[in-house]
């Protein structure tokens, strides 16, 4: 038996495969298709303190080997999540990681407080790829000092393992990774979507009502792999890699460049059972290569002359 378990800071996962926030609803949507007990962790759709309506439709459009989304962080808010969704998730022997966001440092902090002493929440993932109302709606996660401030303020109010989810829309991902580490993150996760847009040349209108959206899927995988490689060399804390993972080979690729765990996002839309296929595939890969623990290959890329 190979050992698939990994540690994300203080959090132990039975295997390194988790779901990417926003692509797996609140978990229940996939219970028809897979045994949720098999997952390393379930990361739920990003929550804010109060419910959020999100952007007008159309919200999605297919692109070459990927898709754009502009959901606009629609969610039911912390209170309803805890009341209506969490009891279902507590049934499973799978870590529940709550992704959350705010439009001000205060809101981040309050949301983290509201989520911190709830039974059945095992870690927090803070999404910093969202607009800051106190800074002209610029994105928190694209400015190092804002990133430091928001992570630091959340770190101070939560005892839960804290994962900071980085935006790829930056010049220097290593810097952002280090800033998150210094501000007290237990782990970082990346990449969030890359901003893109598509225009309908017939109507001359953007395909998304919001004009721009976030690009995900295999199209962005080479960029994600590179950023995970750069980030994991810049920090000591564990890195959760994601961006276009479609199968176990892609997952191994992220692990080789330094990811301790991986998250599967858009691929769930293509195959709702893909996460368990990936877990089986990783197991097979380790067996076939006589590797007894997944930990042995984390960061196992070989560079330099053969």
């Amino acid at each position: 038996m190979v050992d698939l378990s990994v540690n994300i800071g203080p959090l132990r996962l039975k295997n390194p495969v988790m779901t990417a926030s926003g692509t797996f609803g609140y978990g229940e949507e996939y219970a028809n298709f897979i045994d949720l007990n098999r997952l390393g962790a379930i990361v739920v759709k990003g929550l804010s303190l109060k419910p959020k309506e999100g952007n007008p439709p159309p919200r999605i459009i297919e692109t070459p080997s990927g898709m754009l989304n502009s959901i606009g962080l629609q969610n039911i808010g912390v209170e309803r999540f805890v009341k209506e969704k969490l009891p279902f998730l507590r049934q499973f022997d799978t870590a529940v990681i709550v992704n959350f966001f705010g439009d001000s440092i205060d809101e981040y902090r309050e949301t983290a407080i509201a989520l911190s002493d709830v039974e059945g929440i095992h870690a927090l993932e803070m999404n910093i790829s969202c607009p800051n109302k106190e800074a002209g709606w610029s994105i928190f996660g694209t400015d190092p000092s804002t990133t430091y401030k928001v992570v630091d303020s959340v770190r101070k109010v939560t005892g839960l393992p804290l994962i900071v989810k980085l935006s790829p829309n930056v010049t220097d991902i290593s810097l952002m990774a280090r800033v998150a580490e210094e501000a007290g993150a237990d782990a970082i996760s990346l990449i969030n979507t890359i901003t893109g847009m598509v225009v309908d040349i017939r109507t001359r209108r953007p395909m998304l009502a919001n004009i721009t959206g976030g690009l995900s899927g295999p199209a962005i995988r080479p960029v994600a792999v590179r950023m995970v490689w750069e980030a994991s060399r810049a920090v000591k804390i564990p890195v959760i890699g994601m961006g276009g993972i479609m199968d176990y080979e892609d997952a191994i690729e992220f692990i080789l460049v330094g990811a301790t765990a991986v998250a599967v996002g858009t691929a769930n839309f293509i195959n709702p059972a893909v996460t368990v296929d990936i877990i089986s595939g990783i197991t097979r890969y380790l067996e076939e290569n006589n590797i007894s623990s997944i930990k042995e290959i984390i960061g196992g890329i070989i560079c330099g002359e053969p």
């Binding site: 926003g22 692509t23 797996f24 609803g25 949507e29 996939y30 028809n32 298709f33 759709k45 309506e53 999100g54 007008p56 439709p57 159309p58 919200r59 999605i60 459009i61 297919e62 692109t63 070459p64 080997s65 990927g66 898709m67 989304n69 959901i71 629609q74 899927g217 858009t266 769930n268 839309f269 293509i270 195959n271 709702p272 059972a273």
Partner: protein, 251 residues
């Protein structure tokens, strides 16, 4: 319970250069679909996302049939599928058409909208009155079948090549003006048509259910990509829909 499985292409018949009847044989057990529900159908890796299609009917052998119109990339790829190839099938999904309360059911289909209403017409206890509008006589399908299960069938075409020339909603409006009984409308077709049906029905104090369309990614309520605006906020077409009460939808 919906499932995700492979289905084999048993037949992919052209009914018109732009319309195809696709017969799929699921390779594992699937739940019985109900009229108004839909499937997500795809072939990997291209198109990247699956596309939604209404449950149309069962073939004689019990296989699932989908009736679709070629619109863009995804439907072109599906149109080229050869007998014996496989697709990924997810479903049945969404909420079916609710059962009517009264006896008088009015069906309004615009173009390919007939695909989702066809099995509903056949399943009704009381024969409905059907309004079916298309571009031209060549794009009218399954009319004989429909007649069999309908009290009456009103047809309009844009070019007058079959039935009356004009919009099906105008024909519906005329009909409703002369009607003095309670009725329930079920409609599927272009958004503009649904909006119109909705307004006409409200004016005549009827109830209307509409099956709406929106682009989809997951089909199972997870991505929040397929919402439409309703009086109770954004609702997911794949989960709360695709059938909505017309007076709930904000057009």
């Amino acid at each position: 319970m919906s499932s995700y499985l492979k289905a084999k292409v048993v037949e992919n018949r052209s009914l018109h250069p732009l319309y195809k009847l696709l017969t799929l044989s699921p390779q594992s057990p699937v739940e019985e679909p109900r009229p108004g529900q839909f499937y997500m159908i795809g072939v990997t890796p291209d198109p990247f996302l699956k596309r939604p299609f209404s449950y149309f009917r069962k073939s004689k052998d019990g296989d699932i049939q989908i009736f679709f119109r070629i619109k863009g990339k995804g439907t072109s790829i599906l149109a080229d599928l050869k007998k014996g190839s496989f697709v990924d099938l997810l479903g049945p999904l969404g909420r079916p058409y609710p059962s009517p309360v009264g006896d008088l059911v009015i069906i309004v289909a615009g173009g390919i909208g007939i695909a989702s209403l066809y099995p509903f017409i056949g399943a009704l206890e009381h024969k409905p009155i059907v309004f079916y509008g298309t571009r031209s006589s060549e794009e009218l399908f399954f009319v004989d079948d429909i007649r069999e299960h309908a009290q009456e069938v009103f047809i309009t075409t844009d070019d007058g090549s079959a039935g009356e020339r004009g919009l099906i909603t105008d024909r519906l409006e005329r009909f409703l003006k002369a009607l003095d009984k309670p009725f329930t409308v079920y409609a599927c077709g272009p958004a503009k048509m649904l909006d119109r049906v909705s307004k006409i029905t409200v004016r005549r104090n009827g109830i209307a259910y509409v099956s709406v369309e929106e682009r989809m990614a997951c089909g199972i309520g997870a991505c929040l990509g397929c919402v439409i605006k309703t009086r109770s906020g954004y609702q997911r077409v794949c989960r709360e829909g695709p059938v909505f009460r017309a007076d709930e939808v904000i057009w």
